[in-house]
Amino acid sequence: MIMNRRSLITTALTLGAMKAFPGLSYAQARPLVFATFTGSWEEAHKAVLVPAFRKANADAAMVLDPMLSVDQIAKVNAAKANPPIDVMLHDPGPALVAIGQDLVEPYPVEKSAYYKDLIAEAQEPMGPAPFFQVVGLTYNPEAVKTPPTSWADLWKSEFKGRVGITNLNSTLGTGWLVEIAKMRGGSEANVDPGFKAIEELKPNLAAVAANPGALATLFQQGQIDISPGNFNAIQILKARGVPVEFVAPKEGAIAFKTTIHIVKNSPNRELAFKLIEASLTPEVQTTLMNPPYLIVPTNSKVTMGGEIARVLAKDTAELKQKFVFQDWKKINEQRSAWIERFNREIKI
């Protein structure tokens, strides 16, 4: 058989045209797609948020698509006119990138029943923050007898070869660098003191993990005994019997707003709004605050309890006092330069 040249060209042109004008491929009704994070977030959302949303919306079809923030941005960016995702979840850095690249819609604040109940820091008009992630010091209580109290403790000589950090690919790594820079007189605009501090930390460093997940498993291996760490990540390890504790340093625990956004041009705008509303309700936030999820609530009507009240904050007032929020707009301006600098300078 000889392939007809004309039909070959027609096929190629059609494929090409579909690529150039994604709108041509006819709009299809598809379920609501919610891009959450992998790991504990996916578990928490599958178990609590999705059922709550379904209950409130007559079992509306939806799927969870777990991936990193940066991958969500890449996917939506690749098909802006017909995005494959309706609701995105972002750390503060990627959130600003998504907003800057015009990938998200403003949240219909006036329609929202819960937006005004959120604490002021969580009220973001381009996408509210239903959750906080909190970064403090994590340590192995069997190996570290006196609980650390400050970021500065990581430099103590007793922790020689036992400290773990992550590189700057993650929000955790970048946020921590800013915090130690601040501790030594720097700021979001000037992290030089932070880099100097890491340089001095080298004798203590056992590992620079490629991502926060890899960092958490290092506690399991006994590879590290102390590190800056994510409150939620540590809870999962604890639940599995790994000896690990979290403490908020006296300089303040770093709080990352996890914002949730309606994707621009989403064909499921209304359902997307309803999913986000569900995430802001006191009921969902209360359930997520309890074990095994222990996600810090942002709705001021939720009464803090359990582990969160014990190690983080008893109420919104204490939370505001203990948490440090960083200026990610400033951070994003120089983040690529920092990553490059970290690549070059931090070799152990």
Partner: protein, 287 residues
């Protein structure tokens, strides 16, 4: 004189059968590759201004070049380890009974049946500060404080060598199996010792397998993102991680594209060296 009808050119037969695959490659391989190339030829992240800036940035930056260099070197080290360890296994395979052969082939194939992630985590357990190696050495009193094995070039090479070993061993087994065992006997009966027989007969005849194994192992080792980043940690930078960082964390797609194109060309260069060696070896290995 009535000329006999010229036989149809064999290449004109059945070309239609290749069309689906050709089309598949065109759409899913060539088109994305061209898009990558197109993207890499822009100076800004929004891909509005044409230029060779990304390539210049990479090629004039000692740091980027050192990342490329260390990645290519990593591949060479892993390939060497695989060859040195894989050859005796393949050789042994041809000389043992069928029962042992089954066991050897099982051992060789087993790594392919487990996920790379699982195997890599196993290496973290083995190489860690309180891992099997350090614990054994310490209990034997050979060392006092744990050796640093994880997050070192050594650790990455060892873990990658294990992960990629089947890619080396299988072609070697095939190549060695094709060698007529009478040649060994002939060589011996003509007075050559076993080493001489090995270097003059077995090794040259197995070269096609060696080349194939090296090419596969090399390509797999330098692109092994998971093993490189988990065993190497966050401060050992190889090309796949560098690429990921630029594309995902920094959303600098033009530079990431340029990195991929440069990496692709570097790998193609190395592979073509292997292929050239393979062609030369055919002078020996025609049997």
């Amino acid at each position: 004189m009535g000329a006999a009808p010229a036989p149809r050119d064999v290449t004109s037969h059945g070309m239609g059968l290749a069309v689906p695959l050709a089309l598949f490659f065109l759409v899913f391989f060539l088109a994305p590759l061209l898009q990558l190339l197109w993207l890499s030829l822009h100076n800004d992240t929004a891909a509005l201004h044409w230029g060779l800036g990304q390539y210049l940035h990479f090629l004039t930056d000692p740091f980027s070049l050192s990342v490329l260099g260390s990645t290519l070197l990593l591949g060479a080290e892993v390939t060497a380890v695989c060859l040195v360890l894989g050859f005796p296994i393949a050789w042994l395979y041809q000389r043992v009974g069928p029962r042992l052969q089954t066991i050897i082939i099982l051992i060789v194939l087993l790594p392919l049946l487990t996920s790379v992630v699982v195997r890599t985590f196993a290496w973290i357990v083995i190489l860690g500060r309180q891992g099997i190696i350090n614990a054994t050495l310490q209990s034997l009193g050979i060392i006092n404080s744990p050796l640093k094995l994880l997050y070192t070039q050594f650790g990455v090479v060892i873990a990658l060598a294990q992960v990629q070993m089947p890619l080396m061993t299988l072609p070697l087994i095939t190549a060695l199996g094709r060698i007529d065992s009478n040649l060994d006997d002939a060589s011996c009966s003509l007075g050559a010792g076993s080493w001489r027989t090995f270097f003059k007969i077995v090794l040259p005849l197995s070269l096609p397998g060696v080349i194939a194994g090296c090419t596969l192992t090399y390509a797999a080792a330098i692109t092994a993102f998971i093993t490189q980043s988990l065993i190497g940690g966050g401060q050992m930078l190889f090309m796949p991680m560098y690429l990921y960082q630029q594309a995902s964390t920094l959303q600098n797609w033009p530079f990431a594209s340029a990195i991929s194109i440069i990496f692709l060309l570097a790998v193609l260069a190395v592979v073509s060296v292997f292929t050239t060696l393979g062609r030369l070896s055919r002078g020996y290995g025609g049997a």
